[in-house]
Symmetry: C2
Subunit: 222 residues, 2 copies
C-alpha cells in the first residue's frame, strides 16, 4: 500500500490523523495543541519514550485525556508530530546559514553532523522520537512523510552548490538528478539506521558519526 504523494494539505485527510495547526479553528485550540506538544517535548527530554505517558502528557498540558486523544490519535502520532515540529525548526535554521564545504560530500557531512550533534545533546528526547518513528505504522504515514520530506530537503540542499535556485522552497527538487535524490534517500536511510543503533545503545556517538561519514564519502565521491 502506498500513500498518495503530496496531497499538499487543505483536503480533509481520510482517517485518524493528528490535527495540524492549520486545521484548528480557534486560537485557544492552537494554543492547546502547542501546550500538548510542549509537554510531550519536556517529558521526552527528561525521561525518554517511556516517560511520555499519555496521562502525564495530559496532566502537564492541562487537558483531559480524551482531549489529548482528540488532538493526537495515539502516542506514536503524538511523538512523530513532536519530531516533525523539531525538524521544521531545524530545517528552517539550516535555511538561514551558509553551508560550508567545497564538495557536496563535505556539505552533506556538515549538515548531518550538525543535526546529529543536536540530537545527541538530548539523548532521551532523541530516543523517544526515534523509537516512535520506527514503530509507526501506516496510520502515521502523513506525519512520517512530512519528516521524510524535511530530511530529504536538508540533504539535497546541502548537495546543491551554495545559492543555487530552489533554495527557497524545500519541496523544489527540480534541478537535482534522479541520482541525487536517490543518494539523498540512501543517506537518510543510513542516518536513520545509525540513529537507531545509537539510541538503542548498540553504537557510540563517535561510531555513529564515523559510520555516517564513511557512507557519505562512499556515495558522494566527487
Amino acid at each position: 500500500m502506498v500513500q498518495g504523494h503530496d496531497p499538499t494539505l487543505g483536503v480533509p485527510v481520510s482517517t485518524a490523523n493528528s490535527l495540524t495547526a492549520d486545521e484548528l479553528g480557534s486560537a485557544a485550540q492552537r494554543e492547546r495543541r502547542q501546550r500538548i506538544l510542549d509537554a510531550t517535548y519536556a517529558l521526552a527530554r527528561e525521561g525518554g519514550f517511556e516517560a511520555v505517558q499519555m496521562r502525564a502528557v495530559a496532566e502537564e498540558a492541562e487537558v483531559a485525556l480524551g482531549t489529548l486523544y482528540r488532538y493526537f490519535p495515539s502516542k506514536i502520532h503524538l511523538l512523530v508530530s513532536a519530531l516533525a515540529r523539531e525538524f521544521e525548526r531545524s530545517e528552517a535554521a539550516f535555511r538561514e546559514v551558509e553551508i560550508p564545504g567545497e564538495t557536496a560530500a563535505e556539505r552533506v557531512i556538515w549538515v548531518m553532523k550538525g543535526t546529529t550533534r543536536g540530537l545527541q545533546g538530548d539523548p532521551k528526547l532523541t530516543e523517544a522520537l526515534t523509537r516512535a518513528f520506527m514503530f509507526a505504522d501506516a496510520s502515521v504515514a502523513q506525519e512520517i512523510h512530512t519528516v521524510g520530506m524535511l530530511l530529504t530537503s536538508m540533504l539535497t540542499r546541502a548537495m546543491r552548490p551554495e545559492g543555487s535556485p530552489g533554495d527557497a522552497d524545500p519541496a523544489d527538487l527540480t534541478d537535482l538528478t534522479d541520482e541525487d535524490v536517490a543518494i539523498a534517500r540512501v543517506i537518510g536511510d543510513v542516518w536513520l539506521s545509525a540513529l537507531v543503533a545509537w539510541v538503542t545503545g548498540r553504537s557510540t556517538a563517535a561510531q555513529t558519526g564515523a559510520h555516517l561519514e564513511t557512507a557519505v564519502r562512499l556515495l558522494l565521491r566527487d
Copy 2:
C-alpha cells in the same frame, strides 16, 4: 525498561538475556524453547506483531505465562530471537548454493532480493519481526548483534568472489577490506530502512526492491 531479572537461575545469565539453546540443561527445556519459538512464529505469521500476545504464545506453546517469561524476558526478546532463528536458517541455506552473478553488485543484489522476496511472502511475519527489531532497546543488544552478524555475513560472502577462502566461517572477514565491510553495513542499513518503509505501508514491494537495487549500484560500481 527491562531491568535485571531475579537471580535465582541456575545458569549465570549476564543480564536479562533470552535463554539460548545451549544454556538449557535438559532436553525437555530445549524442546520447550523450540515450542515457544514455533508458537511465536505461527502467531506472527497469521496476525503479525499484535497477534503475538504473550498469553496466546504461552497457551499455544503449552507453557505457563511465567515460564514463557523465564525463557524470554519480554515480547521483544521473544520476537527478535525468532528472527535470529529464521536468519540462521536463511544464512545456512545461502551457504549451500552458488551465488550467481559476475560482479559483486550483481551477487549482492541477488542475495538481497532473494531474502526480501522470502520476507515479503510472509508479510505479517515480517511485520512482526521488523517491528520488534526496530523497537528493541539496549537490553536486546545480544540478540540484535546475532542478527546483524548474520546479515553482514551474507552480504560480504556475496561480495567475495565465489569460492574464496573464509566461506566456511561466517565471522571470518579477513580477506575483505575495510571499505567492503563499510559498504556491507551501508547496504544493511538501506535494507533495514526499506523493510521498515514496506512493513509500515509507506512503500510497495516493487519500490523497496528498486530502492535497494539503486543503493547497491551506487555503492558497488565495479
